[in-house]
């Protein structure tokens, strides 16, 4: 009896503890979502003036905000494509071939992952300014791709570690050339790793503040727009857009994840 009570108590304590952690994680989200329905029109937009959906309508009149969101998405899409292409091919190449200097490439790959983002940001700033590359869309894409590539490679590499080389040999023995084998055998097998890496690259890009802050020039991405508005108080339409982005991401992930899950189940 005593032991049982102890067990129940332990379990209850566990549930309470985990719930508190989740409350901690979601509290600012609740603040943001609530703020998007706040009818207040005076800075800093904190005190509650009643419920309204106005901000979701007004959002579409705020062209600067919408523009920054468009910029963020464009950068994220191009970054994802670039990083996924370069990273996937590199991961396969590094797995299949032995060559000199491989450990150097490996070492360089870890740098953007472990180094504080601010160091990556300022080092790219000095490079772009030293080589007179005008800061803007191009430098943002180059910078984002730089920190995204390693994550794509690590994801694909994790998938490659369980890869059976003989299926490629079989494909070549049956007369397929290298490119056909890559397209029809290697890439489909690696697809989940590539998709995971691409998703990570995309989310890292849309959320990036620190690196973008140094290489943006006159271009304002959505996070930089938020940064700019923090001094005077974040307006409810920014909260509304954030809420919509969060909803969009959740839907996107549910769709892609369930699709992936279905595919895996189907194969089995």
């Amino acid at each position: 009896m005593n032991k049982k009570a102890k067990k129940v108590f332990k379990k209850g304590f566990g549930i309470v503890f985990c719930s508190l952690v989740y409350i901690f994680l979601f509290l600012p989200i609740i603040v943001i979502v609530t703020g998007s329905f706040n009818a207040t029109t005076t800075k800093p937009y904190i005190s509650w003036k009643g419920f309204t959906l106005d901000w979701y309508v007004k959002l579409f009149d705020n062209s600067a905000l919408l523009h920054s969101f468009g910029t963020t998405m464009a950068i994220a899409v191009i970054t994802t494509l670039l990083a996924t292409a370069i990273g996937t091919i590199a991961a396969i190449g590094m797995y299949k071939y032995k060559f000199k200097g491989k450990s150097v490439i490996d070492g360089l790959l870890y740098i953007p992952v472990v180094i504080p983002e601010i160091v990556l940001g300022i080092s790219l700033l000095t490079l772009f300014s030293g080589t007179n590359i005008p800061r803007g869309m191009l430098t943002l894409i180059l910078a984002h791709t730089t920190f995204a590539i390693p994550y794509v490679i690590f994801n694909v590499r994790a998938r490659l570690s369980g890869y059976d080389n003989s299926i490629e040999e079989a494909s070549m023995d049956l007369g397929a050339n290298r490119i056909t084998t890559l397209k029809n055998i290697t890439l489909p097998v690696l697809a989940p790793g590539i998709a995971g890496g691409a998703l990570l690259a995309f989310t890292l890009s849309i959320d990036d503040v620190i690196v973008s802050y140094f290489v943006n020039g006159q271009i304002k991405t959505f996070p930089l727009k938020v940064m700019e508005s923090i001094k005077s108080g974040v307006a409810p339409d920014v909260n509304a857009l954030s809420t919509l982005i969060l909803l969009g991401t959740i839907i996107l992930v549910i769709l892609t994840q369930s699709d992936l899950l279905k595919k895996i189940r189907h194969k089995k």
């Binding site: 870890y110 160091v119 300022i122 690590f154 990570l200």
Partner: protein
Amino acid sequence: MKKLSRHTFRSNTLPSMAMVGPVTLWLAFFVAIPLVYVFIMSFCSIDESYNIVFKFTASNYERLFNPNYMQIYGTSILVAFLTTILCILIGYPFSFMIARTKWKHKALLYMMVIIPFWTNSLIRIYGWRTFLGTGGWLNHLLMTLNLTSEPIEFLFNKGATVLGMVYCLFPFMVLPLYTAIEKLDQNLLEASSDLGAKGHTTFRKVILPLTMSGVFSGSIMVFIPCLGYFFVSDILGGGNSDMIGNLIERQFQSGNNWPLGAALSIILILITLLLVKLYQKAGGDMDSLGV
């Protein structure tokens, strides 16, 4: 002989160059060269109109020993250390419970750690300011409950900065811990208890050593970024808990002394190198830092 080498060239050298070439060039141009450039710049100076003068000087490094700066390094290390410890103390039991629960929606528990991070981190940190500020939700609640008559200032101190850092970096602790704990072999735990070990002995002698790798990689992924997250100490610390990141940011933006900022960045690079070396010495796997 010649034929053979041409064969190796076509079947090995050429495809490997084609596949690994792009990433090599990319990393050389956008990681290696910029860092070397920062290193060179740290030995330069500026003239009256803030132009960089490429003439060797160690004056930036001398300035790093300025007592005001020393205090900021102290704050940085303290904040990063407290953040890491709190992330371990909260993250370990939390990861343990969500990784070993028998609930059928376990995947959901894991996803719920990641979901908040799909909202921009700046606006979430600002959310904390809205919650904790003098006109914020918490003070409102406390005053309605008559627990305080005057609003309490929770913000603009080191505590608020640590809270924001823990908030931003918590998942980087949980993810490696979750992976390490999920891999634990149930048989080992049963064997330990069959052999008469009590709960805490099993934890100390079996569970903890087997999951230490997760604690190490989590700590690296929390401590190092923490030093550079200048916007957290800006928004929540309000200038009262400036860290190395804030110092660097100022040199490159408003201060316009890039060589000094470069020298400050070298400190961060050295700290990173030192910690990564320690991590590898402790048997840490570099690959588990990535995902």
